[in-house]
Amino acid sequence: MNALVRLYPRAWRARYGDELEDLLADRSFGMVGQLDLIRGALDAHRHPELVDPSAPDPSATAPVSRQRFEDLRVARRLGIGTLVGGIAWIVAWIVAANGPVVVDGHGSYRDGAAAMPFLFGSMILLSAGLVGQLIRLPGRAFVARIGSFAALLAAPLWSLAPWVPWFGLVLLAGLVLLAISAWWRGAWSATASVAMIAPTVSGLVLAVVPLMGLPPVVPGLDPMVVVVLSFAPLWLVVGGTLLALPTVIEQDPMGEVPSGQFTAV
């Protein structure tokens, strides 16, 4: 069996494997064709419903139970809180950048203590959104739930001790794990996942490089500004992905959700 065909899920191979093998035997495909096969295998893993009618369609807006709907409403409220947390995050850094200049034996620096409540609040609200993600994510998104859990613990710890990088790294790693797995399981769109991962990774690199004594990637750019701007989308994505609610409740005599209680998916 062609090694790349093995990348496809078993159920998929059972249905299309022979045909695909036959096709590959008839014609040689270059590097582009090989990459296309890998991309096809990823797609097949993301969409098991294509060959397994019993698998849930991740893109479907299936009716939900009344209880599930109420849970999703709670998650939505947490998501709205997270969006507010994004504002608190930006405010925290503005306050820190404008703190009083202190001169002591170590030299002069800005005292950012006044920003701590905003920083703590922003992280608590980010954690609230991650609790919302735990509520909203389907059971099959197990890795995404682990990422959410790790991040929701690390976020407030980091705000209490922002000079300890490990909490921040666990937070960011958890969020990246959440973004990748939620996309993989169809719970997040590719756009949402990229919006989470791209600024996180690039912001981390841009901020860490000067701290390691290396010349900055973008000369003259304040690492603090990089951190603030690149991490702000985290609140937006975590909160934003909680806002949409299903439009139909199953086994509900009224059928559709009363207007005002949902946002179209």
Binding site: Y16, D18, D22, G33, D36, D43, A44
Partner: protein, 107 residues
């Protein structure tokens, strides 16, 4: 113009090519691939081809026939014919509109 195909995402264009390819009779994967390449000038990757075929089969646009050796031919369903006709009429209208607006414009 492309209404009804948006759910296919990146497979929308290959789906249309495959529908056209099957419009003159059943074909198996390899035959579809060479036919599409002859018509469009660009090869259809094997992953894309079978990603599109799986979606089309699930949506009821095509139907798999009994395999011949390891090759399984596909044919259009009634829904597939209707969908193809709708798409081509939309494209035809779009083409007419574009040509009429272009008129005798010269550069």
């Amino acid at each position: 113009m492309n209404q009804g195909m948006t759910e296919f995402g990146r497979f929308a264009e290959p789906t249309l090519y495959i529908l056209v390819s099957l419009s003159d009779g059943p074909k198996h994967g390899y035959a579809i691939m060479t036919d599409v390449e002859a018509v469009t000038g660009a090869p259809l990757g094997p992953g894309t081809l079978y990603g599109a075929l799986a979606r089309m089969e699930r949506r009821g646009l095509i139907e798999a026939l009994e395999p011949e050796d390891r090759r399984r031919p596909y044919k259009l369903t009634a829904l597939g014919v209707t969908t193809l006709r709708t798409q081509l009429e939309g494209l035809s209208g779009f083409t007419r509109l574009g040509l009429s607006r272009l008129g005798g414009t010269t550069i």
